[in-house]
Amino acid sequence: METAKTERLSYLNYFVKNISSLIFPHHCALCGKPLEEGYFCEDCCKKLPFIEGNTCSVCGCELIDGSEMCDECTNSMHYFYKNISVFKYTSEFSTMVYRFKYHKDRHLARPFAEFMAEKIKKANFPVDFIIPVPLHPEKEEERGYNQSFLLARHISKILDIPVLNDVLVRDIYTNSQTGLKKDRRRENVCGAFSVKNRLAVDSKIILLIDDILTTGSTMDECSRVLLDNGVKRVYSATLATGR
């Protein structure tokens, strides 16, 4: 009933309720249709590759059969305790992530963070702090922003958990993980991170935020460094998983 009504109302009515939508109007991130609120139109929302059903208890990827862990997780251990992801990293979705990361479509941080926060809330992680996976300062300069930090900031606002952006830093400028094999990825990020202010995170539970989890090597390296510096446990949440 409500939807029928809003459909009849032209969206210009909406600005009476929300003046900022005048200057920053919302459009569906996929098809560009003007929206009154939200970030995806109904049709496109259905198309999004949500992870549903049975998931791996460690890395959070979707499992077709009823098993508890995916093959990769049974074969190799992770430093992080548990990861959850919202989307499958399909080729369609990857273009959107690409836009989010490189093409200044940083407003996508809002809907993405909303999806992630919802999932984190459901998972009920007992975390003290949120830490985004950092970018090397040079790279951040180049891109203009750290997408993980944007996600972390909005998740923090929704869940009311503080973000620590200056604890974990990236010291080494590494090449992009994209297109590297698993072993090379691990080598690539090895020793790239360090902890600046270990007192702040001492025996705390941390939620790491990143955009994509593929092999998990970045996440592992961050978790390892954090755990080495006295962190009690590391949970992680990513926007999408490539598994």
Binding site: L9, N13, S21, I23, P34, R106, L150, H154
Partner: protein, 772 residues
Amino acid sequence: MLSVQKYLKNISFEFIYRRPLFYICIAYIAGIVISYTFRPHLIAQIVLFATAVIISLFTYLKRQDITVLILLDVMFFGIFYSMLFFNVNSMYESGREYVLDVMVYDSPMIEDYRTSYIVKPEKGQAILLNVYNSNKIYKYGDTLRIRVKTEIPKGETNPGGFNYRDYLKKKGIYATASISEKDILYIGHKIDIRTPFINSREWIENIINKLYPGKEAAFLNSLIIGDRTDLESDVEDSFINTGIIHALAISGLHVNILLLFIFYVLKLFKLSEVKRNITALSFIGFYTLTVGAMPSVTRAFIMAAVVLIGNTYDEEIDVLSGIALAAFIILFINPLNLFDIGFQLSFGATLAILLIYRKLSGLIPFKGYIADAVSSTISAEIGVLPVSIYYFFRLPVYSLLANLIIVPLIPVIFVLGIISIILGSIFWPMSYIFVFLNTMLIRLSIAITGQISSLPYSAIPMQRPYIAVIAAYYIFVFISLGFIKISYDRYVSACLALFIFLGIYFEPICRNMNITFIDVGQGDSSLIRHGRTKILVDAGGSVKSKGSDFDVGEDVLIPFLLSNHVTSIDVVFVSHTDNDHMGGLLPLIEKMKVKHIFLGEEPENNALFNRLKETARSKNIPISYLKRGDRVSLGKINIQVLNPSENKEDVNNTSLVFKLSYKDADVLYTGDIEMKGEADMLKSDMDLDADILKVAHHGSSTSSTRVFLDKVKPAVSIISVGKNNYGHPDDEVLLRLSEYSRVYRTDNDGAVIINTDGKYIKVKSWSDKYGL
């Protein structure tokens, strides 16, 4: 239910209907235009507006669609709100003396012996005050007691000409006055909210003038603080000719460079994103106010603010909504801004770049910087072409070339300029190397622009496009870009293209004879049109003298002709070689096609005439000399020459005098002839009888004798006169003329337009039309 989308189904202005602010802004602009064109009744408008708001409120409470109602509300608001600006009349009376306590309201403008101030009484409208030969300079905030005789600035005095009154009104000035130092008493000094901005502008200007040599300083002043007063007009002209004048008007380009520069500096301080953006925005805001918040800078500032704020809060950034917001704010501050050239060009170009750029860059086969520059230049050009032709009367042919070469230099000059200002204000020798480099760069860009502008066919003169042609042009652009979807679009666009092409060159044909005595200030000029024949008698004065950039030929006569769709002249009659009759002819024959020039006697050794002769020779324009008894026929117009005779006389008395006849209507053109010449003509016993008399020598007491007027018996006399120190027109002559005829004078009546079918004569004063 009404839904705008439904009605716009065929017009796929997707870019509009996805953006509510765009609708609203267009509705508001429509309101301003309606208000400007129809000048409706204020109370009625307020009632309409209130009714519309109440209806929309009720509809909204009933939870029904109010899209269309909101747009109507905004439109009615626009109508009534802009009337508050349009309907303001001057509180001063013309010619009345006032003693006022005023505050100097802007930095003084100093030109040679004249200093101009904008002064404003505490509660009242501003006055433009010209002080001559004064050695004192008052600053912003000084309060003065002045005794002034105010004058109401003239409105549009020639059809399609410059409207000085509206121009000043836009700046909040409602009267002008000339005053001598004696009538000014200094009272004190006030400091208000604008003081820091004015002071910093003056401070920057002073540093630039101290560091840079004159020409380069003027260039940098226009680039950095938007002050173009010192810029030489031929530099400005060459920038207009090459289509890169936008580089000198502070706009998005400059604001973006400044933003990048500020960000670069702020990086040293390692601020958080929010703090960094706010700091940068405050700097830009300060800069915007310092340079005087012209529409183009304000637009750039608001759009930058939308982008930066949107980025900071991860909002979806929509530049088109940003531009709509900018337009709305600027037009809310003053709806008159809609008619500002800077506003139209700035918004036109930006909008066009936003809409067309991507489509264009897809068509360009190569990529990279040049491709970007080409597509942004072309898209901006597509957007503002009719507007720029409307105001500048020329087609910048080498615009693309100039944009590719000069525009990349502008950011460098700008940043070097800012660095040199900062260093120069600390310790001037530090800035030496930057100043040196920048001076070279500025010289280079002026030289290159000058070169491009002097290439053949660099600026093709164009007549003012008809409104229908402009409309057709934009519809054509919208169809070809796919914003309007219609069936048979190819045929429609082909027809439109043909219409535009013909429309550009179409000159109206006058069925009746039409004579316009043009207001050229002190001087003579009149245009006679019949059928396709165009005759010009005299051309007004002033070939640009040193110290003044104003030139009647270039700034009044040529714009008048082009805005009235006259692109060529068949015959020019020059009564004699005095500047106020021939000066304007030099730029005219240089820029426009003139087929033949007629003079009275060939003068000996007249510098101005020698220049004319030389230009005419290079343009292959024949010059012929007429004497008493000669007859010239131009279509149905016959000309009978009455003077000069064989007798040797002075310049004025050898003026070319002739009777121009169209069927039964006779017009007597007398040049600057004086008593002696009049007597000589009377003696020869020619038929001097005429219906219309162009009064000799601007109504001087030395001409228009009673015996002469007895013979001419005019029904209408026209005095071509402007502000002068000769006492023209003479009161006695005026009285004498009024005994015989109705007297019109171009200084009070503006252009005097005569329309005759050869039997009846209609006379119209252009200023009357505008209620001067």
